[in-house]
């Protein structure tokens, strides 16, 4: 066999090489590859598992105290939501009132701010629920299969949001986008499937967002794997113009909201 690539050796080190036996045999006779493996081992062996700081016996109760307080705040925010896309922003505001930093919201802040402004300026707004949703969608609200489909689409949108954020947040003169591209490529096929399913079910809003998303994912996949600052800025502008991050975020939240545990918690002791 020819010399082992670094990828071969990494997989071999972790015991996942497809041709483990052949690589082992090759290493016995090839000083160059054996040396490369030793160098790799030296580095990886030395990266020890970080030991998490100790947490005392009271830690579980402390976690529950924080979680239950956050759940109560979320419940209160949900009880009287305003209509339309403003509802989403209100929920974000309610959640950021936590005394801990709301990191997820901070992550979205920059992208959302630009996207919201773009959406408003362009005269767009998120459809008011449930008036503008189709009758077919309303009719299947209690259907377990439809719930499962919406939950899956919600997860898909969250993952896609991650790719978009990675691209939007990239900075530098030459940015390596190959990881984002690999991830986007994985998402395109499922995006197509969900878009067809949503269209077939008469959920034109979901289908439309997925359609926009697919175009952006394709643009990422077919774009340069190492982007210049100008290329990144152009991608960011196109994403902003479509208010895509905002739509994806709001739709994911809406879909997940529909799958909340059906019964509210009993009074806590």
């Amino acid at each position: 066999m020819s010399h082992c690539s670094e990828s071969d050796l990494i997989l071999f080190y972790y015991g996942e090489a497809d041709e483990d036996g052949r690589i082992r045999q090759h290493l016995e006779h090839c000083a160059q590859c054996a040396g490369a493996l030793r160098a790799l081992q030296d580095t990886l062996d030395a990266i020890a598992v970080p030991e998490a700081p100790a947490r005392g016996d009271a830690y579980p109760a402390d976690v529950w105290s924080r979680v239950s307080a956050a759940l109560e705040r979320a419940d209160a925010a949900r009880r009287a939501p305003p209509a339309g896309w403003f509802a989403g922003l209100s929920r974000l505001a309610a959640e950021t009132s936590d005394n801990r930093p709301s990191w997820r919201r901070l992550a979205l802040a920059a992208g959302l701010a630009a996207a919201v402004i773009t959406a408003v300026v362009a005269g767009r707004s998120w459809p008011r629920r449930p008036v503008e949703r189709s009758a077919a969608v309303a009719a299947e609200a209690g259907d377990p299969l439809a719930r499962a489909r919406r939950a899956a689409i919600g997860d898909h949108l969250e993952r896609s949001e991650g790719v978009l954020l990675d691209v939007i947040n990239s900075n530098g003169d030459r940015v390596d986008l190959s990881t984002a591209q690999a991830w986007a490529a994985d998402l395109i096929e499922s995006n197509r499937l969900y878009r067809h399913t949503a269209a077939h079910a008469g959920d034109s809003l979901v289908a439309s967002v997925l359609d926009d998303l697919e175009r952006s994912l394709l643009e990422i996949v077919h774009g340069p794997s190492v982007a210049t600052a100008a290329q990144l800025e152009a991608m960011r502008s196109r994403l902003d113009a479509a208010a895509l991050l905002f739509k994806v975020r709001m739709l994911a939240d809406e879909l997940h909201e529909q799958e909340l545990a059906p019964v509210q918690p009993r009074k806590r002791t």
Binding site: D42, P50, W103, R104, L106, D166, S178, H256
Partner: protein, 194 residues
Amino acid sequence: MGAPEPAALLARARQGDSDAFRVLVERHSHAVFRLAYRMTGSEEDAEDVVQETFLRAYRQLGRFQARAEFGTWLYRIAANCAVDFMRARAARRDQSRAEGLERLDADAAAASAHPGPDRLAESAEARARLARALADLTPLERAAFTLRHHEGRSTREIAELLGIGASAAKHSVFRAVRKLRASLAPLRAMGERP
């Protein structure tokens, strides 16, 4: 009377019994914190991930399949929360990360200046360099590397946990290892170990 069985607790939690959910949170909080810490490399960040993990778990209880293992399901949520968190941190390119790295550098410098054994100084400097190298990985690369290297997960498991394809999972591990090797090469040249 023994502790309630996980299945019974889950059934009660799914019906809205907050006491049952409390028991689940308390049982798994240490394990979720450990994973969150390994993935984010920061105590404070890990605490945020812990809280968000349980909030997401609560919201998604209706989707949990009784045949699955609750701990595994929670592990998946925690891993994804950590990725989201790291993405948020990357978005801010934030002050806290810079401060954290400065702190590590300061620790390394202090250790170097300390009259103690050389090994201590080497170790502190190596830790600082490793922390910096890990912080420079993309969120997905860091998550994939942590799951592969620290958690012993296979590529297939990483793909399932992070909801990505096997090719993306593999690619992320490769890139993470390459970047770490490049960052840590100067240490190797000096004969130190991270």
